[in-house]
Amino acid sequence: MGSNRDWQRSVVSRLKSSRQLPRVLFVLALAPLMWGAGLLASDLVQGTRYLGSNPIKELEHFTGKWTLRFLILSLTVTPLMALTHQGWLIRYRRTWGLFAFFYACVHLTIYFVLDVELNWADFGADILKRKYIAIGMTALSLMIPLVLTSTKASIRRMGNIRWTALHRLVFATVILANIHYWMSVKRDIREPLLFALIFGVLLGYRLRAWWRERAKRPGAGSAALAKAPTA
């Protein structure tokens, strides 16, 4: 038992101080993109059919789902830190958030360049007339201020409280991104439902934390509303 603990501790401390870990994670986070690009290249050059009959649609779904997966990773950091008491994990929260934004941008680019074919009129009509496109665009737009203030310098400049308040926007992004995915599906909602459940757990954790925080402050009542959970 004791040696098991020691072993755990040594692994954690190694990971914590590892200079390789950030690089490994960076490469891993790029792997889906490389994978998708590789399949596309093979289909184009070798005539394989990895991406099937409608590769553009396939790539849109592929990058959209990876955006959601990186959002899941970024929202997992805070609860994981609390559960494991490993504060250093926070270093990677920004990494996952930035990659979520990155994949969302690739997603939008594929849609805009390959699907809409750079046709601004079609693009405008899509945003105005199709709710799920407008919702997706909003979800992505709300990530921009978070990306712009993702540096340590920004946190210092804004102060912890204001920075945290701003970065709660990610919850809006997550909700809108899920609606966007749900609405784009024709009939079989099993996969969007699975994503929604995972996000539900991650958002539920924060709601619970906020609720407990509120309960802890006797008589604080509505004043506690102002103090919401950390992002």
Partner: protein
């Protein structure tokens, strides 16, 4: 009423096909096989032009002008919406592999002078099979060009003689979750039901398909019998048909039941009436890089527009 059940034994007595029919089928297969030569290279931006196309031995009675645009066999048989075998486009090809479309019987019933249970072979026998190259436009805004093999729907209607009170014809897919695993999940109300107004069904374009590319219909494409109405969105075509019912009431069709505000009974291809969640103005032809404009009635306005004169196509979508 006859209740048919799939026998538990792998080979039912009804499956022992009479020799004459057997020989016919052999001929059908051989003819198809003999002429399965490398066909026209597809002008495709996606590098699939070297895929060999099976070619048909049957006369092409419509759509010869579309021959140069044929969607490759690989796409036609692997990119399918056939929810009875799963909701992913690639599911039907994977999950229908062990489906056995024989023996098969088709029941004609309802307001009709000659209701009957047909063995598939008897159902098809009176007709000379012909090839028709049709545009196929899915409501999801992708499209194909498919060489169907079959016979005109009007010929069957004439044969079974609907009574004067019949106004609609309803098509019903096999309902058997053991053979169609997708039916275990209630994504749609099973069995799949589609329907046409009788005058639509009598239009010369309306077609029963038993094959594609000169071969028997692959399971994932709706074996052994499906119908094709090329001026309508793809979901109007009912696959693996076991029942054809003539009625005086508008059929309650599967997608219309599932989402009435999104999928109407008519479902005519119309670039001016958008799906509530996406535009129908353009489509992606499978295998092509650029999207193309969707044509009114999928390019068949000359043949079918008169069916809808005086109707508001925005309301009757």
């Amino acid at each position: 009423m006859i209740i048919r059940r799939t026998p538990p034994h792998p080979i039912a007595s009804s499956e022992i096909t009479p020799e004459s029919v057997y020989l016919n089928r052999r001929q059908f297969l051989e003819e198809a096989g003999l002429l399965s030569v490398v066909a026209l290279a597809m002008p495709s931006d996606l590098g699939r032009s070297r895929v060999a196309q099976p070619q048909s031995a049957y006369p092409t009675t419509m759509g010869s002008d579309l021959r140069s645009e044929l969607t490759p066999w690989d796409d036609v048989t692997t990119y399918n919406n056939f929810y009875e075998f799963g909701t992913d486009k690639s599911d039907p090809a994977a999950n229908a592999r062990t489906f056995r479309p024989r023996p098969w019987s088709v029941r004609v019933e309802g307001l009709v002078k000659k209701p009957a249970d047909y063995d598939l072979e008897d159902f098809i026998k009176p007709y000379k099979l012909e090839e028709r190259i049709y545009r196929h436009r899915c409501v999801e805004a992708w499209s194909m060009v498919v060489p169907w093999l079959g016979f005109p729907m009007a010929d069957l209607i004439a044969r079974v003689e609907p009574s004067p009170s019949a106004k609609y014809v309803e098509f019903i897919t096999l309902n058997d979750a053991k053979r169609m695993p997708g039916q275990r999940i209630p994504v749609l109300q099973w069995p799949y039901v589609e329907g046409l107004r009788l005058d639509e069904a009598r239009n010369p374009l309306a077609f029963f398909a038993v094959g594609v590319y000169g071969k028997m219909l692959p399971n994932q494409n709706g074996a052994p019998l499906r119908h094709v109405v090329p001026w309508k969105y793809g979901f109007k075509g009912c696959k693996s048909i076991v029942k054809i019912r003539f009625t005086d009431r508008e059929p309650r069709t599967a997608w219309n039941l599932a989402a009435p505000d999104e999928y109407g009974f008519y479902a005519n291809v119309n670039p001016n009436v958008d799906h509530p969640r996406w535009s129908q103005a353009k489509e992606r032809r499978i295998g092509e890089f650029r999207r193309r404009a969707t044509l009114m009635f999928n390019g068949y306005a000359d043949q079918v527009a008169s069916l809808y004169s005086g109707m508001d196509l925005r309301k009757s979508y």
